[in-house]
């Protein structure tokens, strides 16, 4: 496979994942804002922009934080080059560039969803439409992954695609956790009163884990449990442990196919030794924020090493 094609597949799935995660983040904030007073709602929208690292760009265009401004900025504003509409454009142009290495099913799922979303996002999204738009973004991801799973040859292209998905997903979960880490610190959570479980639930919703968490914990919600679930529970497909395991398998498969391990595989091993035997108490002892910052840096380094190992760029 061409290095450029591997790069296209990797980024096609990174952008697809990023669009889906952004939609989930907005959905969780939307729900939160609806059940809060105006001050809390504003704080919620502010934290969405902060999680996405868009404060500077957003504040250059807007004076305050309200739902309509925030979601339009995130979804479609030209002043935000990384908006969801542009992400989908990038999903499609990468799919086009890798057209001969993906199946027609995958291409048609990408193309049909791009046509739909590009039209939906061509105009400002109002409060009555936002739910439908966010749902459509999530479904686009589901459809592409579905077509992918059922029709893609399990060759190196498959593993580059999956690596892109898990690198991006781990990045997203870690960022969401980091933005809310102060809510989850044990010392604060025991103080109790002003921080209610609604905030915690919101974190879980952002990563589509609220229902599963409630089921696993008989409806009891507490900060430690949430961190353990999102970092260490390798059964939950958006946890950091799950993404690491999946990525390790993808890298191992690539090494088998190429007959040699690259730099990415050894960075992966280093990172693994740090996370595999950790307990949630150790994470809190070390500092949740410090742990997450380290995780994000290693994740980014692995992504860069994959690009180098497999000659993504000239």
């Amino acid at each position: 496979m061409l290095g450029r094609t591997a790069n296209s597949l990797f980024w096609m799935f990174r952008y697809l994942e990023r669009a889906e995660n952004t939609a989930r983040l907005l959905e969780a904030a939307l729900r939160m804002a609806l059940t809060r007073d105006i001050v809390a709602a504003e704080a919620e929208w502010r934290s969405v922009i902060a999680t996405l690292g868009l404060q500077g760009q957003y504040e250059a265009a807007h004076d305050g934080y309200d739902g309509v401004s925030v979601w339009n900025f995130v979804l479609r504003a030209p002043g935000n080059p990384g908006n969801v509409r542009a992400m989908f454009g990038a999903v499609r142009s990468n799919a086009r560039a890798a057209r001969i290495n993906i199946s027609s099913d995958v291409w048609e799922a990408v193309n049909a969803n791009w046509m739909k979303l590009d039209t939906l996002l061509a105009r400002p999204v109002g409060p009555t439409a936002v739910g439908e738009v966010l749902g459509a973004i999530r479904r686009a991801g589901t459809q592409v992954h579905g077509a992918f799973d059922g029709s893609i040859l399990r060759d190196e292209g498959y593993h580059f695609s999956r690596a892109g998905t898990f690198i991006e997903r781990a990045d997203s979960t870690a960022r969401i956790l980091d933005m809310k880490y102060f809510l989850l610190l044990p010392s604060l959570s025991y103080v109790g009163s002003s921080l209610d479980t609604g905030q915690w639930e919101q974190v879980l919703r952002s990563v589509a884990g609220a229902r599963v968490y409630a089921w696993l914990n008989a409806g009891q919600i507490e900060a430690r449990g949430i961190v353990e679930f999102l970092v260490l529970d390798d059964r939950f497909p958006r946890s950091l442990a799950f993404c690491r395991n999946a990525l390790r398998e993808n890298l191992a498969a690539l090494a088998r196919m190429h007959g040699a391990e690259g730099q990415a595989a050894s960075l992966m091993r280093d990172a693994d030794t740090r996370i595999s035997s950790l307990t949630v108490d150790q994470i809190f002892d070390q500092g949740l924020h410090e742990f997450l910052v380290d995780f994000l840096a290693r994740n980014a380094a692995i992504a860069q090493a994959i690009a180098q190992d497999y000659r993504f760029l000239a």
Partner: protein, 476 residues
């Protein structure tokens, strides 16, 4: 000159009777419920959009992807008509290859006084560094598209030869797929020659032209595209996909160890045959346009040393020139020793003072084309142009007469298209696709029918709003 009266119609004769080629189709059409065609028309549009069969148009602002409008009424050719056409096409393509070989070797045709040497010297498509070089297998034009027009029952003319990088074959294939998906019963009732093995034939044809450096095993074939923003990117990806070839861009390629190699995830891998869809000018920044980022520095040296086959060969573009076209009857006779089976359209070379005078006197009746132009750009269609347009063109013509040729405005044949108000005749042409390899000349039955969608219009180019039809050659 407008559609309807006076033109040859492919479907109906002058008494309104269905011609033999269309009888089975028209019977089927008459049996369909009235809303079927309307429903299917929408369905076709959705299919093309979803599958992304588009071409890019460069407007004033940004590149926009458009569909080439597809018409559901097929253009039908009888087995007998096709036999005659294919003999003429084969003869012409054989002559084109011999002509190109001669131009880049002894130039017998110039020595014999049958072609003015000036036409080579003044032509940008002439490549001096191809002189004395013989491409692998002696093949220059691996893929050719011959544009044909019809004016009567037995009157077919060649309007243009496309030997540089003919496009549109993906539409030939997708139009058939779409028709079969929409109207399966039609194909069980009428026996139509298949076109679907074109990609396999193309792959075989290209693999038959390996360069001297080929080391055995399965030849590595790659399609070179300018990239996803090129107007024909869909076709490049489609052909690579169907052939099982790699789809490469200039940035993927590099000359390593005397071979052109592509950057794979495992390192560099040599390419044996490169089906390039970029023009000569952009092929090698060391030899041609130094600004080009689409090509491969040094590829021409590798080519001349036998390290790679380039299809079509660099320098073939000269035979697309419309001044050269005007000599095609002489060219066919010179190299085949036979009279041309397919005639040219009468052509006045404006470089010639007598012809120029005639053309200037009759601009309102003529079609004037730039000799190096293509895609329907930069031409004048006298009968449909305003006085102002004609007088503006007159000045351009007088300033550089050798840049132009003129032809009579042909009474192009029509064929009905489906419109909201039912069937309506529109002008069309036909581009059959021809593969050339040391194993022989291979013509896919049918080709791409391009159709003007505006009533009376004679311009069928997709860049100018033309559409396409599925093209059927009936089995005996």
């Amino acid at each position: 000159m407008s559609g309807g009266t006076g033109n040859f119609d492919e479907m109906f004769d002058s008494n309104g009777q269905t011609r033999p080629a269309y009888q089975d189709y028209c019977r089927w059409y008459g049996e369909q419920p009235p809303d079927l065609m309307r429903r299917k028309n929408r369905e076709a549009d959705d299919t093309f959009r979803r599958t992304g069969i588009t071409f890019n148009v460069y407007g004033e602002n940004e590149a926009e992807e458009r569909l080439i409008p597809f018409d559901m009424v097929p253009r039908i050719i009888t087995a007998n008509e096709w036999r005659k056409l294919s003999r003429g096409i084969e003869q012409r393509v054989r002559a084109l290859n011999s002509f190109l070989y001669d131009l880049y070797h002894r130039q017998e045709i110039v020595r014999a006084g049958r072609l003015p040497e000036r036409l080579l010297r003044t032509n940008d498509a002439w490549l001096a560094n191809m002189v004395g070089f013989t491409p692998p297998g002696g093949i220059y034009t691996h893929i050719v598209g011959i544009d044909l027009v019809r004016t009567g029952p037995d009157e077919f003319f060649v309007l243009e030869d496309n030997a540089r990088t003919p496009s549109g074959v993906s539409y030939m294939l997708e139009n058939r797929e779409t028709m079969m998906a929409m109207f399966p019963d039609l194909f069980s009732r009428i026996a139509v020659e298949s076109v679907s093995n074109y990609p396999r034939r193309l792959a075989r044809s290209l693999a038959a032209c390996v360069p001297p450096a080929f080391t055995g095993g399965k030849p590595t074939v790659a399609v070179l595209t300018p990239g996803i923003y090129n107007s024909a990117y869909f076709e490049h990806a489609f052909l690579a996909d169907q052939m099982g070839a790699e789809l490469v861009e200039g940035s993927d390629l590099r000359v390593v160890g005397g071979r052109v190699q592509m950057r794979t995830t495992r390192g560099f891998k040599p390419i044996d045959v490169l089906y390039r869809r970029v023009d000569d000018d952009f092929l090698d920044p060391l030899t041609f346009n130094p600004e080009s980022a689409l090509g491969v520095p040094g590829i021409m040296d590798v080519y001349r040393a036998g390290g790679i086959t380039i299809a079509n060969a660099p320098g073939t573009g000269i035979s697309d020139d419309k001044a050269i076209y005007s000599f095609m009857p002489e060219i066919v006779e010179f190299y085949t020793g036979e009279k041309p089976l397919l005639p040219n359209v009468q052509t006045w070379r404006c470089a010639d003072p007598d012809s120029l005078a005639y053309v200037l006197d009759n601009l309102a009746e003529l079609v004037v084309k730039e000799v190096h132009g293509s895609g329907g750009y930069g031409m004048l269609i006298g009968p449909t142009s305003s006085k102002r347009e004609i007088s503006a063109f007159r000045e351009k013509l007088k300033a550089k007469p050798e840049n132009y040729i003129a032809q009579p405005t042909l009474a192009l044949s029509t064929c009905p298209i489906y419109t909201a108000k039912g069937l309506a005749p529109r002008h069309l042409d036909l581009r059959p696709f021809v593969l050339v390899s040391p194993e022989g000349i291979d013509i896919t039955p049918g080709g791409l029918t391009r159709v003007a969608l505006k009533k009376g219009s004679l311009v069928v180019n997709s860049s100018q709003g033309g559409g396409t039809k599925d093209t059927w050659v009936l089995k005996d």
